[in-house]
């Protein structure tokens, strides 16, 4: 099992191979459908994003509410393909890691190869377990979107699988 950190280093990025199981620690942003749509529209209008995605990690998730005493509610991955339309623009800005579940489009995979990014899979439906790896959650922006707002998570040993590596090798295509 490989250990990696977020933000990820260039060395770690190159070392990851499709199929590798990893434990990741560090900081990441959450964003799903509605936040991606807003960011995409900002870019199309030539405006700045509310977060600097360069070198960063985005986890496709909309957590359930946290019970009192919990850092975060259950928070498993959502289906990544719904973000495909918006993804190449973010990769061109330097986004390095995406976490979600399921297939990606050819356009996303090509952009990942061009930009040297990886796509990691979390286990869909293992939301209560995954929440144990989230130490801290803080709201960053788009509060009005509720569960779809952008949060910054501090994570410790979150279990992931390299689904698509920087060369475009893809576990779902096997």
């Amino acid at each position: 099992m490989k250990k990696i950190t977020f933000p990820i280093t260039e060395e770690q990025l190159k070392d990851l191979q499709a199929g590798d199981r990893v434990l990741a620690s560090g900081y990441l942003y959450t964003a799903r459908d509605a936040a991606h749509k807003r960011m995409y529209e900002l870019l199309n209008e030539g405006k700045q994003l509310p977060i600097d995605v360069s070198g960063q990690t985005i986890y496709y998730v909309g957590a359930a509410p946290a019970k009192p005493g919990y850092a975060v509610g259950p928070c498993g991955p959502t289906s990544s393909y719904r973000m495909d339309k918006y993804t190449p623009s973010l990769l061109d800005l330097g986004l390095k890691v995406m976490i979600g579940k399921g297939k990606r489009s050819d356009a996303v995979i090509e952009s990942m190869k061009k930009n040297g990014a990886v796509y990691l899979a979390a286990i869909g439906g293992a939301a209560a377990l995954i929440a144990k790896s989230i130490i801290k959650s803080e709201l960053v922006c788009y509060e009005d979107l509720g569960t779809e707002a952008i949060y910054r998570y501090e994570v410790k040993d979150i279990p992931l699988i390299v689904a698509i590596d920087t060369k475009g090798n893809n576990v779902y295509a096997r």
């Binding site: 998730v61 909309g62 959502t78 289906s79 393909y81 286990i123 377990l129 569960t147």
Partner: protein
């Protein structure tokens, strides 16, 4: 049979409990199937994914937190006895109040938007629910409730086959739909198949099929046999747990049928993730 009065709050309390329970406690049928699947898997990765699901479901039950963050859109199938009167309100209002209380007080995610195309504003209490009501003889209300996540709902499909397609056509459509879905609907999945009726009836049957225990077969042996055959074929696809390969792509295939038109053979495939959540109650 005398008219029976039921209070709105009784319905509300029942619905609230159904949605909280189904989101915290996975059914024994699913638990048993995942344990059995783990014994049969040969790859470490597939075993590891199933172990994570077993651990996850235990954490959810022990701590009374949702199994999955997508606690679903609330779907209810109701058999409403024709001798029942809600004495102090309306049945549907009482159901919606139960959904509202479950999702707000039970720390469930509110995932419903008011308008599908333009506004897409979160309703903030997960209402409205999708309620299918059938009036039946009697003085009881039977409710089957499920929280339907959309990772798998989005992978569902319907096709208006024609009679000459026959059982081969039905099989092909089910298998094509599951193969196309691949890793997206959180496998190992439960496949609900609705065959017959009209366009909307087939879809409703498919949803109803996902709310039946996977340990219960169709009562008609011909369809029970088709369920087993489809399950075998799906598990040969090597989609596997989490779509990462393996012998367990589906935990169960449930078929529900209805008479249909001389010109038709509608088939609907409603896919449900491994967190196939449903509970029943009778008032």
């Amino acid at each position: 049979m005398a008219i029976r009065e039921i209070k709105a709050e009784t319905v509300t309390a029942c619905v609230k409990k159904l949605f909280m329970d189904c989101n915290y406690y996975i059914g024994d049928d699913i638990s048993n199937a995942i344990l059995k699947a783990r014994e049969q898997e040969t790859s470490d990765l597939a075993k590891d994914v199933l172990t994570q699901l077993i651990d996850n479901n235990k954490i959810a039950a022990d701590e009374q937190i949702p199994i999955c963050q997508d606690t679903g859109m609330a779907v209810l199938f109701v058999e409403y006895g024709d001798k029942v009167v809600i004495s102090d309100g309306s049945f549907e209002d009482a159901v919606e109040e139960g959904v509202r209380q479950a999702y707000t007080e039970g720390y469930l995610r509110k995932s419903v938007v008011s308008d599908p195309v333009f506004d897409r504003k979160n309703t903030k209490d997960n209402t409205p629910a999708v309620i299918h009501t059938r009036i039946v003889p009697g003085d009881k209300i039977k409710i089957t409730a499920g929280g339907k996540g959309f990772g798998s709902e989005n992978m569902s499909a319907i096709k208006m086959l024609t009679p000459s397609a026959g059982v081969e056509g039905v099989k092909q459509f089910v298998l094509d739909t599951v193969a196309y879905a691949g890793p997206n609907p959180c496998p190992p999945i439960v496949v609900g198949v609705g065959i017959g009726g009209t366009f909307e009836k087939a879809a409703q049957l498919a949803k109803r099929a996902t709310l039946r225990s996977i340990e219960v077969s169709n009562s008609d042996e011909k369809y029970a046999s088709l369920e087993r055959e489809l399950l075998d074929e799906i598990n040969k696809m090597n989609i596997g747990p989490a779509g990462l390969g393996g012998k367990t792509s589906a935990l169960g295939v449930n078929i529900e049928t209805y008479p249909t038109h001389i010109a038709g053979l509608p088939v609907a495939v409603n896919i449900c993730c491994h967190a196939c959540r449903h509970k029943e109650c009778e008032i």
